[in-house]
Amino acid sequence: MSTDTLGVRARRRSTVLWTTGLSAGLIVTGLIAVGTGAIAIDPATVARIVIHQLTGLDTGDWTPPQEAIVWQVRLPRVLLGMTVGAGLAICGVALQAMVRNVLADPYLLGINSGASSGAAAAILFGAGAGFGQYALSTSAFLGALGASLLVFLIARSGGRMTSIRLLLAGVAVGYALYATTSFLIFASGSAEGARSVMFWLLGSLGLARWDPLMAVTATVVAGATLYLTVVGRRLDVLAVGDETAHTLGVSPDRFRLRLLVVVSLAVGVLVSASGSIGFVGLVVPHLARRIVGAAHVRVVPVSALLGAILLVWADVIARVLLAPQEIPIGIITSLLGAPFLLILIRRLHA
């Protein structure tokens, strides 16, 4: 049994190579992205500053402003970008398996609309003011939580939570909450407030700093990635069909419910931290499947890495293109993502 007739070992080898390569790519991306901006800092200096901050080792000389820019301003932003990109990508993977539709994305379930309503309420009417500087994120997260709960209750109301029922519940709740957000903007009558809400809706990593919010986001994304990788085989089975899942020892309804909890939590946290950033969760899973095949044990970690890299580069473009003005990152991801998806679709039917 030394021949690899099924191609399993070849696949595993190529996955290890890709994972290693993408991890290296992620580090390089981080160093370049932190160095890019109004004041350029070369990647080597960035690396020395970061290593010094982490380990306390003496790694050479740099100016205090350089250190402040790297450590206080840009690094948190790049790390948040990586976290959000990875998180959106894996949530996209999970949702595409859950509803068995390759066009599913993390916003399909209306969770981001809930977060938007919460954010609009905070920006326009001062909701959640008791949470101080976290008023916006807290309010957005509560909105996301409310939306997921609503989707969950509607999807469960008819008995079994099938994929089609979940899909329809998500779309319905999404539209209703989108209307709510629009109404809040309309009712407030504040042009300035409307602009802030709009900016938030299009996504931004501008809120990034070393704070508990960052720690929570990173922990949730890391946990979700680990969970989805471990249940990879069950995701494979669920993606084939409910009846198949059942006959292979996976209870489809129970598993889908667990996935819904994990994904809702992750998307809620992500949207609260960065607004709605489109297309990452839709496109990255397709890319990952092209690279390492459809088995979720491989798709989940590779998607996380790809999503992290892509979102950081999108943010670099958002910062540099019209500098010193910053473009909402959601515009960049959608502009890049749409043609990309079209190419994938063309290949799909070739």
Partner: protein, 256 residues
């Protein structure tokens, strides 16, 4: 051994399966036959727990099916369903290896032994050359054989198949059923083709409106006097070289 006692299923107000009892005995092939809409698939789904009857019980080797953990149930019952796998991008090999899932721990990945089992099962259905292909790119008959290989890879003590000969050409219809017979496990097969049932089943259950019309050994159930009113077709039964064959003709033609 699978024993169902007094199971019932209704779609809306209409009972499709009404207070039906079935026994599938070890080492024998049980065929479920009957006209369209007689509840063959519904009965099979009750037997593997995809549907849960409000009445009666289903037991597998003495344990109630509802009491078994899903993975334990999957180690006892391997099922080939009529779900075609849709748009999955998995390869054939990955599809067959899914059958090993019920035997693996959560953190365990497939090992050489699993790969060998999967390769052997693909070989048994004449599909070893398809291993590296995309499952979605196969023809209907090739898919069906791969799904049967996956059920074999599950190495369960019972095998249940819903119309396994669908999409298969005549040669593979016979090869697959001969394979099922040769396994020596307890098998339950939903079949449309009565001549296939005649050749490969030990026992038959004939379903009609709402319930069992006849049950027993294949030779007893495939009696034209029993079959004709259920199917509404004229039947002649022949014994050729020790094997049973059925010939069909429309009833009106005979009258005229």
């Amino acid at each position: 051994m699978i024993e169902a006692a007094g199971v019932t299923w209704r779609y809306g107000a209409d009972p499709v399966i009404d207070d039906v009892s079935v026994t599938a005995r070890p080492g024998r092939v049980l065929g479920l036959i009957g006209p369209n809409g007689s509840g063959k698939t519904t009965l099979l789904r009750l037997l593997y727990g995809a549907l849960r009857s409000a009445t009666g019980t289903v037991t597998v080797d003495g344990d109630t099916l509802t009491g078994l953990a899903p993975r334990e149930a999957a180690r006892r019952l391997a099922v080939v369903v009529q779900e075609n796998g849709g748009e999955t991008a998995l390869t054939v090999a990955e599809m067959v290896l899914l059958g090993r899932g019920p035997h693996l721990g959560t953190f365990q990945r497939t090992g050489p032994a699993d790969h060998e089992i999967a390769a052997r099962c693909l070989d048994r259905v004449g599909a070893s050359h398809l291993g590296a292909r995309a499952f979605a790119g196969l023809s209907g008959g090739e898919r069906q054989r791969v799904l049967i290989a996956r059920a074999l890879a599950q190495q369960a003590t019972h095998l249940l198949l819903d119309e396994p000969t669908n999409h298969l050409d005549i040669r593979y219809q016979h090869e697959i059923l001969r394979l099922v017979r040769g396994l020596g496990t307890c098998a339950v097969v939903v079949l449309h083709d009565l001549n296939l049932a005649a050749r490969y089943c030990d026992d038959l259950i004939l379903l009609g409106r709402g319930g069992v019309v006849a049950a027993g050994s294949t030779g007893d159930v495939l009696d034209p006097a029993v079959l004709e009113p259920v199917y509404g077709i004229g039947i002649r039964r022949l014994e050729l070289e020790g094997a049973l064959h059925l010939l069909f003709h429309p009833l009106e033609e005979r009258v005229a």
